[in-house]
Amino acid sequence: MALSWLTTLAQTTAEPWTDSELKPTQELADQINDSGKKKPLIINVGPQAVIPGSLDAGPGSEKDNIKKLEKILSTQDKNREVVIYCGCCPFAKCPNVRPAFKAVKEQGFTQARLLNIPKNIKTDWIDKNYPVQ
């Protein structure tokens, strides 16, 4: 029991995001599809922007792209919802989401979200017929 709790704690503390900061794909797709809904700022931090309306900072593993991301964020309201996504591969293997999410948090955004793409953008977004640009 204690071991299980420690494992969970280790897993939780290892990531820069919490479970509640993971944005469900369906929720974002609904926001994009419903013209009446408030739109978050969507930023690609992976190899290719796929989601309509998303800005392209480029892979978060590269320092220059983190600077690009910070520049995009610098003009935004800190209370606006910011959703970053990569989708190259499962989170465990992704080199992009961690530095990018940390950068969003460090800029003081109160609604920083990471799009919950457990596998990749094809399986978890494109194959579900969510909007693609």
Partner: protein
């Protein structure tokens, strides 16, 4: 007569639905004819998978942004050196690498840096590439081994397993 017509209509509907289902859901399997791929090389030349018939072809799905894929390339180079002997008689290994890159410069830089001698193709469409759908890719690295006649003989073998499989097939 009306019953016969109804029966034929119902049977046709069942047949049609079954066909639709099988077309939509049939997974890529060993024994299938490998679906054709025709994509451009970095130089813009269109190269088809079928043009490599006569060789044992490893279709390697990779990308410069995929760390495990890049890590695997030196291993593939060793296997290529071991089994790629086009001038000799017997089975020859060739590699048809399909990249899911989206940025041409990144793709070209990776090929150059890794010094990959085999055929490289890409439509630079990342995960939106139709090939990813055709081959039902769930993640990369992923590979398909195709025999001399174009039939799939193995799926997603890596490392020692791939080497062992090739050593049995090459030289047959």
């Amino acid at each position: 007569m009306r019953n016969i017509k109804l029966f034929i209509g119902f049977a046709s509907l069942l047949f049609f639905l079954n066909q639709e289902r099988s077309l939509a859901q049939k997974p890529i399997e060993v024994g299938d004819l490998a679906p054709e791929i025709v994509l451009p090389t970095p130089g813009g030349k269109m190269v088809s998978l079928s043009s490599m018939k006569g060789n044992l072809v490893l279709v390697d799905f990779w990308a410069s942004w995929c760390a495990p894929c890049v890590q695997e390339q030196p291993e593939l180079k060793k296997l290529y050196a071991k089994y790629h002997h086009p001038s000799q008689t017997g089975v020859n290994l060739d590699i048809y690498a399909v990249s899911l890159d989206s940025k041409k410069d990144a793709w070209e830089r990776a090929i150059k840096k890794l010094d990959l001698p085999w055929t490289q193709v890409s439509d630079l469409k990342f995960w939106t590439s139709p090939v990813a759908k055709t081959y039902q890719l769930e993640g990369i690295p992923f590979n398909v081994l195709v025999d001399q006649k174009g039939y799939i003989i193995a799926l997603n073998l890596h490392g020692e397993q791939l080497d062992q499989f090739l050593s049995k097939r090459v030289g047959k």
